[in-house]
């Protein structure tokens, strides 16, 4: 296992599979009365969140606590960052307290990569700007696998605000590591520049037309709707929310069309959802939706990541 988890590309197939396997044991622990394991006793984990988060931060914190590590949460507000301390000074201050892992969320892409060069602790990327969110991709893969088995050859469609989505970048890497085929769909304005250079040869395709993909020959096994990230948008990426929904929202008629072709198709969303924008409330609550499974998988997968990165023998970085 690598020392840091910055990008989904840090993990090869064997490592991803080891994490997902461990996560399924951790899922059993979650159902027990006593949820604590002694595995990371005496280890200190800092959650340093420079950006808001509900599920990622709480699940990393609970995961750490269930593994008996001491977990401490810091956020930009309320830390010396608000007094103007630089990222480097902040993380080096924390590093000087001999912590074992830094879990970082930051609004700048590449922040975690930089931090990894400044500290001795393991650095885990909990989302950096529009770059990557590797544990989200792992938990999505875990959730999918628990429903449809091995992902080899499966077809996953990712729809929405690709330009601003770290979830999509990590997911494409992890899904491809596990042998799945990925089609990404977005309006031209939200399709990242340079996506054409992503190799099309090994099961990666792009499209501007959601209906065409849902009704195409390659029937999707799962559709992942991404959140429209208004907080990262400056300027008009689409004329009106209504127009976005008409073109790219997962509405009931679209879901019905998909289920008519594949009754076992699954609907995913990394949350938080903009109901009525990228996904209708109806689709989010349907039997095909595994949105809440994704949240509960998050805990198990993050326990597994902490275990594999922190419990074993020290690796030189």
């Amino acid at each position: 296992m690598p020392k840091h988890l910055i990008s989904s590309a840090d993990l090869d197939r064997g490592e991803v599979e080891a994490i997902l396997e461990t996560a399924s044991s951790m899922h059993d622990v979650q159902r027990r009365e006593v949820k604590k394991l002694p595995t990371l006793r005496g280890r200190t984990i800092i959650n340093f969140f420079f950006e808001d988060s509900t599920r990622t931060r709480s699940s990393f914190e609970i995961a750490g606590k269930w593994m008996s590590a001491d977990t401490i949460n810091l956020s930009a507000k309320g830390s010396s960052t608000s007094k103007g301390e630089s990222l480097r000074d902040s993380v080096q201050t924390i590093n000087a307290m001999a912590v074992d892992a830094l879990i970082i969320r930051h609004n700048q892409s590449g922040a975690c990569h930089q931090v990894a060069g400044w500290v001795d602790a393991s650095v885990i990327n909990a989302g950096d700007g529009t770059h990557e969110h590797p544990t989200q991709a792992l938990l999505d893969a875990y959730t999918l696998r628990s429903r449809i088995g091995d992902l080899d050859g499966k077809h996953v469609v990712i729809v929405g605000d690709l330009t601003h989505s770290r979830v999509f970048r990590s997911n494409v890497i992890t899904l491809k590591t596990l042998g799945a085929r990925v089609t990404v769909v977005a309006p031209p304005t939200l399709m990242p520049a340079g996506i054409g250079s992503w190799s099309a040869a090994d099961g990666f395709a792009t499209s501007w037309d959601l209906d065409e993909v849902l009704e195409g020959d390659d029937v999707p096994d799962a559709v992942m709707m991404l959140r429209v990230q208004r907080e990262r948008m400056s300027g008009g990426f689409f004329p009106t929310p209504r127009e976005y929904t008409v073109g790219y929202g997962l509405t009931r008629p679209r879901l019905n069309a998909l289920l008519a072709r594949n009754p076992r198709a699954l609907v995913m969303h990394p949350g938080p959802m903009n109901r009525g924008l990228e996904i209708s409330a109806d689709a989010a609550e349907s039997d095909a939706s595994i949105v809440l499974d994704q949240v509960s998988s998050g805990l198990a997968v993050r326990m597994a990541v902490l275990y594999h990165l922190l419990a074993g023998e020290e690796v030189a970085s």
Binding site: E21, T22, L37, Y307
Partner: protein
């Protein structure tokens, strides 16, 4: 640090051809049958017994013991489970992480039961210490007993087995290899190899 006595090599690993056989398939079968009788004698029947194997080979041994116990006692199949101890090991920092195996607790649970832990080889005793910790997180058995196929000595903790298939004096440098039909796909055998 002594290599702990659990898990052992993965299924299907070849045995050292230079080793010598210390327990044949028949002897293993007889050993298990004797252990089953001992458990019943000690427990005065099969009431409240729950067998928990320690992965990986302990689980197969526990399953076999459960069958023999049910046959001897003429009762319903006894509850069998598996108890993974990976997360409770005391030597995690000394080796690369490995994925934990499944912990499966029978529906009856372990509270107020007589739990018999089953493992293939008892060595340092550290695995059993970890298993006792893992078990405490799952409930409160009335009693916990330990059955092992082979006791090779060299304990590092005050732990002893209640039921032993065979006591096998060994040196630290020797390797005890257990192979089981279901787990390894070869005929049951216990071999010793290495040593000076």
């Amino acid at each position: 640090m002594t290599r702990p006595d659990s898990s052992g090599p993965p299924a299907g690993s070849p045995v050292d051809p230079h080793g010598r056989t210390v327990l044949s398939s028949n002897e293993i079968a007889r050993g298990l049958r004797r252990i089953a009788h001992e458990i019943l004698e000690h427990n005065k029947g099969a009431a409240d017994l729950v067998l928990l194997g320690i992965p990986s080979r302990g689980v197969e041994l526990a399953e076999r013991l459960a069958l023999i116990l049910a046959e001897v006692e003429g009762c319903d199949p006894l509850p069998v489970g598996s108890l993974d101890i990976t997360m409770h090991r005391d030597d995690l920092r000394h080796q690369p992480t490995r994925s934990p195996m499944r912990t499966v607790i029978p529906d009856c649970g372990v509270d107020d039961k007589i739990v018999v832990l089953v493992d293939d080889v008892l060595y340092s005793g550290r695995t059993i210490r970890a298993a006792l910790d893992a078990l405490a997180d799952l409930g409160r058995p009335r009693a916990v007993r330990l059955a092992v196929l082979v006791d090779r000595g060299h304990r590092e903790l005050p732990i002893r087995a209640d039921h032993v298939g065979k006591n096998l004096p060994t040196s630290h440098s020797e390797k005890v290899q257990v192979r089981l039909r279901g787990h390894d796909g070869v005929e049951d055998v216990v071999r010793i190899s290495g040593g000076n």
